[in-house]
Amino acid sequence: MSNVEQRAGQRAPRTWVAPTVTVVAVLLLWQAVVSFGLVPSFLLPSPTDVALALVTDAPVLSQHALVTVGEALIGLACGVAAGFLIACLMERFAVVRRALAPIVTVSQTIPTVAIAPLLVLWLGYGMLPKVLLVALTTFFPITVALAEGFASVDPDTVDLMRTMGASRMQVFRYAKLPAAAGSFFSGLRISATYAVVGAVVAEWLGGFEGLGVYMTRVRKSYSYDQMFAVIVIISVLSLALMGLVDALERWCMPWRRAERKATS
């Protein structure tokens, strides 16, 4: 049997084994630390306590999670729309690029914990300030990624399209926009992780419902098992949102699959 045939006969490495073993090992270690009394359980609940809290509080948690997911998704949609609009304007008009670039950058230097109470003060305890905070934190990665994507187009491609008689809009539609798709999804993946966390922070600083509100309540009652349960929910929601972005990317960019096959 040749080397090539031998290699072809070998099983593909199981990529899920290493991370699964790591997670299980960390959970076992954590459980051991609490079970053997190295850290008191009222300070650090064990994984089984957290799992129990997740099960017993499931109805309440799901109710609050729904609110948070709603705020995160609406905020993310607004952030993506704003980021797309700003990036398009910056690409089209050099003067807009020069005018907005500093403001866009400065907007990201303001801590969300500083701006969230102000938004609550100005806009009340409803959904609007949360959505606005999520939009503010998510538009930046989209804007930067799209602006870079638009600029990445080969100038020769633009020249080629001009020789076809393409208008500026057609160059944008057929060359620049698809070329920016990869960058857009990279930005969207980062924004998706910011979205849930942004919504929770906004709820934490003022509101009536949502995981952030629930978190402040259980923290005040020193129910750290429930607090950890919320953290688990937040992580799962963020991962689910990232998975959704990955699926969307695969659907919107079918050529990536062909590229991967061609290079493998």
């Binding site: 080969d154 020769d156 491609t157 020249d159 080629l160 399209m161 001009r162 020789t163 076809m164 008689g165 393409a166 057609q170 057929y174 060359a175 698809p178 070329a179 798709a181 960019m253 050529w255 062909a258 590229e259 096959k261 061609a262 290079t263």
Partner: protein, 251 residues
């Protein structure tokens, strides 16, 4: 049949430096000319002007007697790279000029797909550029250029990225295809052998713009052999004499 392409007294600059001065040449309708010159002498600058992408400092570009100076979309231009868009299938890449002209997507695809067999691309319609070999990509780029429906075509070193064997095959195929389509064609190359194998006329551009000496046309060498017999002609003493003349002009 294509239309005659003519440059009259073109002077071209790049970043405030005169690159080409007083260039005049004519490619007759259905003719195939090559522009040869050393790297950096301004061949691509000339093509940008002929394609209407840049305005000359002086002079005119005429297509079939019409002034097309600084008007893109009149002369088809196949740039050095194939520039197929990664995110579009081959049929959608090739159909791009039709879509730009406002044709409906389905109709454009149908019209483009009808030409695939003629260009040796049958079965590649739904593939992406990354799934094609260099030679096939160039064929696709040429089909896209053909669908621009222009009477004259400019090709800037179309085979430079290919290996020697593929280049030879594609050169023969291109010659036949240009004959069949009756196009007026001008090719930039720095390969004198390629120029002799392809052209009816070889224009030699020489100068050193970077050193402040703008390039000028220093020679026009006709190749007096039918295009169909070029493979045999390339091995003859006459072809060797033409190469010597071109190289002498370049020196």
């Amino acid at each position: 049949m294509g239309e005659a392409l003519e440059a009259r007294g073109l002077t071209l600059s790049w970043e405030d430096q005169v690159v080409v001065e007083g260039l005049s040449l004519t490619v007759p309708a259905g003719g195939l000319a090559c522009l040869v010159g050393r790297s950096g002498c301004g061949k691509t600058t000339v093509f940008h002007a002929l394609a209407g992408l840049t305005e000359p400092d002086a002079g005119q570009v005429l297509l079939g007697g019409r002034d097309v100076t600084g008007r893109p979309g009149q002369v088809a231009y196949m740039l050095q790279k194939d520039l197929l868009l990664d995110q579009r299938t081959i049929v959608d890449n090739v159909a791009l000029p039709l879509l730009v002209r406002g044709m409906k997507k389905a109709e454009a695809r149908e019209k483009a797909a009808a030409e695939f067999a003629r260009f040796g691309l049958a079965g590649c319609e739904g593939l992406y550029p990354c799934q094609l070999s260099g030679g096939m990509r160039q064929r696709a780029a040429l089909l896209r250029t053909h669908l621009m429906d222009c009477q004259a075509v400019l090709m800037d070193e179309p085979f430079s990225a290919l290996d020697a064997l593929t280049r030879n095959d594609l050169r023969d195929w291109l010659r036949g295809m240009i004959d069949e389509l009756g196009l007026t064609c001008m090719v930039v190359t720095h390969d004198v052998d390629e120029a002799v194998a392809l052209a009816d006329d070889i224009y030699v551009l020489a100068g050193d713009p970077a050193a402040g000496r703008p390039s000028r046309l220093v020679g026009e060498v006709p190749v007096p052999a039918p295009r169909a017999d070029r493979a045999e002609f390339a091995l003859s003493d006459e072809a060797l004499a033409i190469k010597r003349r071109v190289l002498k002009s370049l020196a």
